[in-house]
């Protein structure tokens, strides 16, 4: 397993995608056949179910190290990862176990049905036969998340560099159905188990943020304007009675959205369309937070399917009955698309992106500012003559977002992050004034630079009221301006309001607690928006 440990270390230390790819290529060049397949399986979520509960592993670990529970928890909150905490706390190994990755995986699979005593024997023996880094990987292999900073995309790019095979095809191959016991590494890469001709996607056409006065882009008549939706940009492919859904991140997400797949089953024609995967209910778009509940799940319960139905708003058409139509002007593609949508029987979940009618740019600005009411992020401006170009191209497509709402708040709690951020206080809870007290209005995790986070962490260390545990109450002294996309009344939150997408806009060092917003001014925004 040493080469696997080295790979993980090499991948983790760098944030350069190329360095990660090189480390992966190096591993694939030298590793045993079965290890290569396991690596792909692990990084694509095809992992055996966890054979031992983490609470048991924690218990066994504390038995060995003979330290009080609270000290274990303090260590855990300093490290931010359970598997790593245990790996660091356990004593030095007494012997050396040297087995390739696939043997470990085979043993871990066999462990599942065994008795608790047998499991304990196995885990304890492994712990005492591995050094710290290997122990950490072992703990990760047994269970929990294996978040190592390798996306499927990076993995696929490495495999593509290794084999020369098109990355999208490899994406389909590794996500497709394959059995680690029967497939060979080369067959997996060659995609013998899939039909890539059917699933092959087109590169997405992207937009720049509008960075100029609208009058400078010409006559409104030359532009097609639509709402910009905040879901998952997707490409639906229907070819030869097969349906595939690709996300913007170039991942195949077909299995996550069975109802979208179902929408297209009854079409006679073949096509490739571009659009947005959105949570839709009662004819309106739900916020992204709702859609998020549907993502990255292995199984989607019936209740979840009913609570958060997902549909597809289509923007564009790329292929029609085998013909690539991307070079046709948008106005022509739009007619094809309208024609296609009219064939649909389900008009609630499959819709065409509405064209906004307006005469002047000023009028459009008013429409943009009202977009938030529809849970839209703003507007998309597309030149009627534009092709479906690859990637971004200046002057063809613009995105014009709604300005976010902002308030000034004070930080009252801080918590350490996880992963790369586990050493710093990165997760903050903010409050506004309510008479003489403070009420929390939002949590935010992003928006500060690394340097600012380090400074805030230092402040938290020096000004925390608690000394133990993961959450620190801090002196209400640091003022931040937070931005958010929307606000609604909410019974779930103490303050009575829920903010949509709160994030830190900037640290207001020029302000004090006397300057922060009150709950009354915050609630007033509900009327304004």
């Amino acid at each position: 397993m040493k080469d696997f440990v080295n790979l993980i270390n090499a991948i983790e230390i760098t944030n350069k995608t190329n360095a990660k790819i090189n480390a992966l290529v190096n591993y694939f060049t030298h590793a045993q056949e079965k290890d290569k397949l396991w690596l792909i399986a692990i990084f694509t979520g095809k992992r055996p179910p966890r054979p031992v509960k983490s609470t048991l592993m924690r218990l066994w670990c504390t038995e060995i190290i003979k330290l009080p529970e609270w000290l274990f928890l303090e260590s855990y909150s300093a490290v931010g990862d359970l598997g790593e905490t245990m790996a660091l706390l356990l004593p030095d190994p007494t012997h050396e176990i040297n087995k390739p990755l696939h043997e470990w995986m085979a043993e871990i699979i066999k462990l599942k049905p065994k008795s608790e005593a047998d499991k304990k024997d196995y885990v304890l023996n492994a712990w005492s036969g591995l050094h710290m880094q290997e122990r950490l990987i072992f703990n990760k292999l047994i269970g929990g998340s294996f978040r190592i900073g390798v996306s499927k995309k990076t993995l696929v790019n490495a495999l593509s560099k290794l084999s020369g095979i098109d990355a999208n095809q490899l994406m389909h191959s590794i996500i497709g159905n394959w059995d680690i016991n029967t497939i060979s590494f080369n067959d997996l890469l060659d995609g013998k188990h899939i039909n890539y001709d059917n699933s092959k996607p087109y590169p997405f056409c992207l937009a720049y943020a509008l960075d100029k006065d609208l009058n400078a882009i010409g006559d409104p008549e030359n532009w097609q304007v639509e709402y910009k939706w905040d879901g998952i940009r997707g490409q639906v492919i229907k070819r030869n009675n097969e349906i595939y859904i690709w996300s913007r991140g170039e991942e195949l997400v077909t299995s996550q959205f069975p109802e979208i797949k179902a929408l297209f089953k009854n079409f006679k024609d073949d096509f490739v369309i571009d659009g947005e995967i959105l949570a839709l209910k009662n004819n309106s778009v739900l916020i992204f937070n709702d859609l998020q509940k549907r993502l990255n799940r292995k199984n989607i319960s019936k209740k979840l399917l009913e609570d958060i139905p997902v549909g597809f708003y289509t923007y564009d058409i790329l292929e029609w009955n085998g013909d690539d139509v991307r070079e046709k002007p948008l106005s022509e593609r739009r007619l094809l698309l309208e024609n296609l949508v009219n064939l649909s029987k389900d008009n609630d979940l499959f819709k065409i992106s509405e064209i906004i009618k307006f005469k002047t740019w000023d009028e459009l600005d008013t429409i943009r500012n009202a977009a938030r009411k529809l849970n839209s992020e703003g507007l998309m401006l597309k030149k009627k003559t534009s092709t479906f170009h690859v990637g971004r191209k200046k002057g063809e497509w613009w995105k014009w977002k709604v300005d976010p709402l902002t308030i000034d708040v004070v930080m009252i709690y801080a918590q350490k992050g996880s992963g790369r951020r586990s050493s710093k206080y990165t997760d903050y809870t903010f409050a506004v004034k309510s008479d003489d007290t403070l009420v929390t209005v939002a949590k935010a995790y992003s928006g500060l630079t690394d340097k600012e986070i380090t400074e805030v962490s230092k402040f938290v260390n020096q000004n925390a009221i608690e000394k133990f545990g993961p959450v620190r109450t801090v002196k209400p002294e640091l003022i931040f301006e937070i931005a958010f996309e929307g606000i609604a009344l909410s019974k779930r939150h103490k303050s009575g309001v829920a903010l949509r997408f709160p994030r830190i806009k900037r640290w207001r060092r020029d302000k004090t607690i006397a300057d922060i917003d009150t709950i009354a001014t915050v609630k007033a925004l509900i009327e304004v928006q």
Partner: protein, 333 residues
């Protein structure tokens, strides 16, 4: 009877009328070691170990009023016997022992209990009251043996060279830099930044031998340093000088690098857990060996370490100081 008290200016010896590593200007300061958070400017009089003297003068000024002693040599100040004992943290670092009417207090400053083959190793001193640091006072901190660490670092350098890369280590110019030099001695030619070069010269002035290094000139020749070893102060991470180094692979050496999250936080190519502080077991063994009846815990994980000491039957209290106030800064550790 009380020999020391903890004040806003620093740790004060009541009968001796002097401070230990004060953080505000005072008349008489007894200094454990030359790091900036323990040895500050503005003191009317400094007392330190012989090896710290030239370094403190180099850093604060040649004209300061400074007196120094050898290890185990005693000076009586207002009736209090003061002596320095090896702390193993950096060159010249000392535990400060105070004795008054048979009552003994030891202040550790910063220390490490394992040998680094460069500084004089830590020697435990029995006392009634022990004032200990706790920078790495959590059981997750257990340092690798020096030889294992050395192999990791040397392997990394050799691997870099094979891949046409220059190995750049970032380490505080006093302490960590010399430690890195020692660990990498005889691996390849080592270039050091001017700040490190000057500190090295101050250290060498008291006849301490250091591994051979070359000064990295500001207008260095890229071909000369390519694939070699360069040691820079941590402040230069992301600097233009670092960007000029051809194919640089950067590494941070610090105890914090034991944790994956910390390694990933810094944008470097490698992190080696090289620390000049005691690890968890080092702290515990130092506390036990002191046989102190009361242990005061300063900078680091003072709350945690002191709570644990109380639980295992060693009377302890935490003390707020201004040392190592930047717990998140990896530079001096």
């Amino acid at each position: 009877m009380k020999l020391v008290k903890f004040t806003k200016k620093g740790i004060y010896c009541i009968p001796g009328k002097f401070y230990l590593d004060p953080w505000f200007p005072v008349d008489y300061a007894v200094i454990s070691h030359a790091h900036a958070d323990h040895s500050r400017s503005g003191m009317s009089h400094y007392l330190c170990h012989n090896h710290s003297k030239p370094i403190i003068q180099h850093r604060i000024g040649q004209d300061i009023n400074i007196q120094s002693l050898a290890y185990n040599e005693t000076l009586t100040v207002n009736g209090v016997k003061v002596s320095f004992h090896p702390a193993g943290h950096i060159i010249g670092s000392s535990q400060i022992r105070l004795e008054h009417k048979g009552f003994v207090v030891v202040f550790t400053g910063d220390y490490k209990t394992s040998s680094d083959f460069l500084t004089i190793p830590f020697e435990s001193v029995k006392c009634h009251e022990f004032i200990t640091e706790s920078t790495f006072g959590l059981p997750i901190y257990n340092w690798l043996p020096e030889a294992v660490l050395q192999k990791q670092m040397v392997d990394w350098v050799i691997d870099n060279k094979a891949n046409n890369r220059t190995s750049v280590f970032l380490g505080y110019s006093l302490g960590k830099a010399q430690r890195i030099m020692k660990l990498l001695d005889n691996t390849d030619q080592m270039f050091v930044h001017k700040a490190i070069h000057n500190t090295n010269n101050a250290i060498k002035s008291v006849d301490i031998e250091l591994p051979e290094t070359t000064l990295l000139e500001p207008d260095f020749n890229k071909n000369e340093v390519q694939n070699k070893i360069i040691i820079l102060p941590p402040g230069l991470l992301g600097s233009r000088l670092l960007k000029r180094i051809p194919n640089a692979a950067t590494a941070i050496c610090s105890g914090w690098m034991q944790i994956r999250g910390n390694r990933r936080w810094k944008n470097v190519d490698a992190g080696f857990p090289v620390s000049d502080h005691a690890d968890w077991n080092g702290l515990l063994s130092a506390v036990r060996a002191s046989e102190a009846e009361k242990v005061y815990v300063t900078h680091g994980s003072q709350a945690t370490f002191s709570k644990y000491l109380n639980e295992i039957g060693i009377a302890s209290a935490e003390v707020k100081t201004e040392y190592g106030d930047d717990e998140l800064n990896t530079s001096e550790t």
